[in-house]
Symmetry: D2
């Protein structure tokens, strides 16, 4: 039985919607954590500071060593939550592609993980970014392909033509 579901996809690919649907359809209560909630837990000054996380005008993201150090400690904490009985959905953006997955593989070593790729056509994702009214535009297009480079999945869903709830049902069926 799966203990951790890792969802990887670019900005505006539809991960958050799938997470909420997953939490609604999975029979047990799962906790969800991700890049957004980690940033929320950090000092506001981390955003835009060297060593922290910087977002460039064209939607690029640069991650520094201070951010990475906290992220590592946080990931170890998530593993403990799982060992203590919680089941967890991790919602992340593998900015480094295969290398990001490798980091997570090491962190989650020994746990039963379901790796899920959340794809969305770059142009469609860019349109949804506009529809969401996000201030930084360009992220969706910049990340759509690159985050999947070299990443290996147990399951891939594509929100281009499939609703969040349907994607969630497919994932839940595999999470057993």
């Amino acid at each position: 039985m799966t203990q951790v579901i890792v969802l990887n996809g670019g900005s505006s690919s539809g991960k958050s919607g799938i997470v909420r649907c997953l939490q609604a359809v999975l029979p047990d209560p799962w906790l969800t954590f991700g890049a957004d909630s980690l940033i929320e837990a950090m000092p506001a000054s981390m955003e835009g500071s060297p060593g922290g996380i910087e977002i460039t005008e064209d939607g690029g993201v640069v991650i520094g060593p201070k951010f990475r150090a906290l992220e590592r400690a946080w990931a170890e904490g998530l593993v403990t939550m799982v060992r203590a009985g919680a089941r967890i959905i991790v919602d992340d953006i593998f900015l480094g592609g295969a290398e990001s997955q490798q980091r997570w593989r090491q962190a989650l070593d020994g746990l039963r993980v379901l790796w899920v790729g959340v794809r969305c056509d770059a142009k469609i994702a860019a349109g949804r970014e506009t529809a969401r009214g996000d201030r930084v535009t360009g992220m969706a297009a910049a990340q759509a392909e690159v985050v999947h480079r070299g990443v290996v999945y147990d399951l891939e869903v594509d929100t281009t033509h499939t609703e969040s709830l349907e994607c969630a049902r497919a994932i839940a069926a595999r999470a057993g």
Copy 2:
């Protein structure tokens, strides 16, 4: 040239996304007002009070006379904004169907209005409600059909299989 675009559709039919895309694709800056921003402008006590607006457990909405009085004054104000040169997108939920449209017709009398129906399959809208994580579930399904009853449109869009941005482009093309 259109002065007011009225979008009517049920909860979770995708109106807000279309509005943001419309504001992005229309060449001039348009202001947007709607049921949500009106409620935001009202005292918090209006929600859940008799005479105000009450949301039932199954997602029904009951509107009282105090709410209606403020709504009427607000609609007259929007008309003045248009006469003063602003172009406006109104995003509403015609809970009363044709009767609601009749109220807007009277309020907007003399202005060039484009009436747009925003449809979404009830089951799909309900799934998107889950994906958004709204606390009150049931609204999407309850409103999907009823808000269009007897309403006459210049244009209808359907978000079931069409992206917000594409819907917005079709509307913008008609708004001239």
Copy 3:
């Protein structure tokens, strides 16, 4: 009997809290509109665009002609709402001091207006800006004094040592 209450004060001076308390203590339902809700009604592209509204790195605000044109139409609309029976709280930041008040005076001509200054010590306001976690820091300090320059009030409240609710009660007592 007052028809419009205009609150003027710098960023983080506590206007929003006073507005919500005012709506709670005033016997009738009042609508509230302000700089924030106006920006919310505009296209996202207005922020950061020349002609629209630009926020400089040190918290300065530059307003352009496109923004002003929509603002004027919007203010005329608010007047109509009042003439149609609504009572309105306007919550604004007089970036131009006396000149901003003059613009509002012309717009609201013929209505019974209560002019309220919301003051807060610049250092205290800057601390509350930090406590709110706003991304743009510096606005509170930059605006604390300048927005009151040359402005004439019926009543002034100071949130430095007075709670929002108490300020609201003092204002409500004068609004009759």
Copy 4:
């Protein structure tokens, strides 16, 4: 050197503002977690469900076994984050008073913890609840006293007459 700062106080006592100020004034980057972020991580269905967390009409809060199980696993995870080098601010509401503290004491056993009580006069907190526009009123008054019953602190701050930033500075001075 302190590894964990635990802030305990009732709803609307000002904990969140103090946390953001603490993150701004502490020289190192601290992560913050609390009751709100935990609920955010849970399925939406946890709220209002038996076994989860239920909020009564008068602002009471009832916590069930499903919620407690996830909370326990989550607290163990936080401990691991600290052992992995992160420093953490926990922002909680000790609904059970001394008993809640005892649960945290066991969870945080072996770590250097600074226990901080965040007090606010019940009437003032109730006024701030109104100013924040929270939908559920009554929580502030209901929790103001009871959450401190039997709890032992290293430091107490009182937001009734003291700004968040000043409280944060006092705490930071003790956290070393």
